[in-house]
Subunit: 188 residues, 2 copies
Amino acid sequence: MTHTLHLLLVEDDELLAEQTAQALGRRNTHVSVAHDAATTLSLISELEQLDGAVLDQNLGQDNGLDLIIPIQQRFPHCKVLLLTGYGSIAAAVAATHRGAHNYLTKPASASEILEALQADPASLGSPLPATPPSLQRLEWEHIQRTLDAHDGNISRAAEALGIHRRTLQRRLKKRPSASQYQREKGAD
Amino acid sequence: MTHTLHLLLVEDDELLAEQTAQALGRRNTHVSVAHDAATTLSLISELEQLDGAVLDQNLGQDNGLDLIIPIQQRFPHCKVLLLTGYGSIAAAVAATHRGAHNYLTKPASASEILEALQADPASLGSPLPATPPSLQRLEWEHIQRTLDAHDGNISRAAEALGIHRRTLQRRLKKRPSASQYQREKGAD
DNA sequence: CAATCACCGAGGCAAATTGCCACACCCCTC
DNA sequence: GAGGGGTGTGGCAATTTGCCTCGGTGATTG
């Protein structure tokens, strides 16, 4: 089944790209990496096989969404997964309309990425989230995303979140559960 | 352009259905209403024209997602909009894969619904939400959704949110902005 | 009809959290 | 070595939260 998948990872944060690529590589996959849209386009013209693509939606100047169609044209069977620091439902719908297979928010672990690439989003369709998340959980996830979107900069994340830097610090220290670092998750 | 659209509204909360239908009716549209899946299926076999369908994902026993395909089979050009009290990105992706045109979370006003039906979700693709919402806004929206999912029952919503009922009460009273009632929004 | 039940609204108070200022460090650049 | 960001930490007043308590209302039930 898992016949050495050929994957393409497009992520503008080079450190995160490296770590994610390594984590994926450990999963019996062959990973090509690009950091921007132009490189991606030239890369896909050279590749001979591509089973899955993982695109960061936020590529500095470029938009990962615009890569979906070129990839699908060259590799019609390639499954495209969009990743984004701060994702919205509207963006997920847009990506899917453009041909994306699935859509995840960062931080996403290698296993989550592979699972999202291989799952059939249409069939798992009935997961009525009967359990509305608690406010705490929602806040925590949003904090993580925002932190990620600001490269871990606490000061700027706090400003973006509209809370005091001191408060964000204290909150981050309190949380017992989960990885303290998105890096840890991203790397595995 | 807006040539008296023929719409179908499927919503199990009869009160909300009524109000939404009226609000839509005021917008130069003809609205048929159903409250469950079975009625919907028999209804679409009778209808002669259908331009848009608004489906509540959470229909008691039934799942709005399962109505997408039957509707599309009978009316291939009909645009289907999913509505859900508590929506997730995964659910939005699933709905889109099944053919849904767009996906909204409640409470949604009549104008939002019409806009979502007529917009082209794929083209508005680049709305990179550069502005991660503040924690306050996020919390407020989540509170509203949860409240909606629990039919406005403050006690149960508070429990679901994991906060004290008294706290939820106080928060609801504080918010200056926005409608105090999802009803108001739903109705217009 | 009275009892009960499930809600909402509100007061009060101790405990926790937040906002904010201040200061010590680090690392980097000019 | 003098800034300019960023982080970590302490302290303190102001706000918010959790929790308990009451009173009121509408629907259901005996």
